[in-house]
Symmetry: C2
Subunit: 252 residues, 2 copies
């Protein structure tokens, strides 16, 4: 009986028929979709704003990092995944890496580039090696490009290394490609795991890897992404910032 009452109420409510109700649902749905698109755009703007805010901090960080010899080489060598593509001769070469930078394109979603700034070195003429990723928005296919390396005579590590690699790399748990193999390979830009690790893990916090002692560590110890903090004082950070800013004014 309650059901009958309900049905009666229903038909009074239903001044529009079913096809019209369907059109109305479709129209609501379009409004919801439009809101979702607005939300995505707004979130992107927040991300862009914070990318801008982070930039001066990253620059300042890079200035201090320059004063720490072989900071980037050490951080890379201590990184559990990135280190697995590093051959001994490449470690020698990365000693000259004085600055690493990751720049996202302004709209974030269309791509990014990784810049390796080198001091003058025995291996190649270039002072900057760049690997750039276009993520393929606007219907383009994703692609990556890397600076052509001008190797110095007899120092082309992509030619020198393959001969000796097979011997003991696997024993040491290393991948069967080298750092410069990775750098020069642009065949599969959407699955470039090393580039993503540099962009999303090393670059946001290289210090944690720099501080991990250069010994074998259990992978579990690294997973919290916080490995080195215990070894490096966290106390009084705000005061440190002030001191550091003063120092910077003096030195710059």
């Amino acid at each position: 009986m309650a059901t009958t009452a309900k049905k009666a109420k229903k038909s009074a409510e239903a001044m529009i028929d079913e096809p019209e109700a369907l059109e109305a649902v479709d129209s609501c749905q379009n409004d919801i979709d439009a809101l979702n698109e607005q939300a995505s755009e707004e979130i992107l703007k927040v991300e862009q704003k914070y990318n801008e805010k982070r930039k001066p901090l990253y620059q300042k960080r890079n200035e201090y990092i320059k004063r720490i010899p072989t900071f980037w080489m050490t951080a890379i060598m201590n990184h559990p995944q990135i280190s697995s593509i590093l051959e001994q001769e490449e470690e020698d070469c990365l000693q000259y890496l004085e600055k690493l930078e990751v720049e996202e394109f302004e709209d974030i979603k269309s791509g990014y580039r990784i810049l390796f700034h080198f001091e003058e070195n025995p291996f190649f003429e270039n002072l900057v090696l760049t690997k750039e990723f276009k993520l393929g928005s606007n219907g383009e296919s994703p692609s990556s490009t890397s600076t052509a390396i001008k190797w110095k005579p007899d120092h082309d590590l992509t030619k020198v290394l393959p001969k000796k690699m097979d011997s003991n790399r696997r024993k040491r748990g290393l991948e069967n490609r080298t750092f410069f193999d990775w750098f020069t390979d642009n065949n599969d830009p959407i699955n470039d795991d090393i580039a993503e690790l540099i962009k999303d893990d090393l670059w946001p916090n290289p210090l944690q890897y720099y501080l991990v002692p250069d010994i074998e560590v259990e992978p579990e110890d690294d997973d919290d992404g916080d490995g080195g903090d215990e070894e490096f004082g966290e106390e009084g950070d705000e005061e440190e910032v002030d001191e550091v800013e003063d120092e910077e004014e003096k030195t710059s």
Copy 2:
């Protein structure tokens, strides 16, 4: 020789020593981390704002949906994954499902609930069945709870169905659990795929599933999440919105 010049320049620059530089890097890193946290909070606020904006549209949509007999049952039965837990007797029961709602908790990250509003029906006394998920922020473990169903005599589908299930479910490609198995099971809340499909796929756009004809479709056809649009006019949507709003004023 350039290297020597560079070294000289370097030591002039290096008015702070290496440990101090390390502290400065750490301090920059803390500032970067703080910015990242701010960014996350701001993005969450945008999401909250749009959740609020979507609410009235979802409500309006639900009002129109009520005028379409068995809308939710049809959408659920046409959903490629959710339908795989639907037993015949449950389809009969879901005919009485007049409203489905997904409510995210206000802070979004801590949880959500799915509400099934039923008309009076032969199966159970409840008019609302709720399944609620707490995602376990603040160190709590994730958990889910569901309304205790007051089954009417001889209509407890969790007891009636298991006896006949094994026979032909697998032949029809169905899962070995039923809709009410899913509803009442709170053992593994973080891997509740059905709840997530309801929240992230069915609820944001049920119309696309309602419109897919109730026949076997190739899974590939469903994957674009857009299957039914061809069958339902997209043209003149903005005008439709206006019309629909007028209608609503008349009817409410």
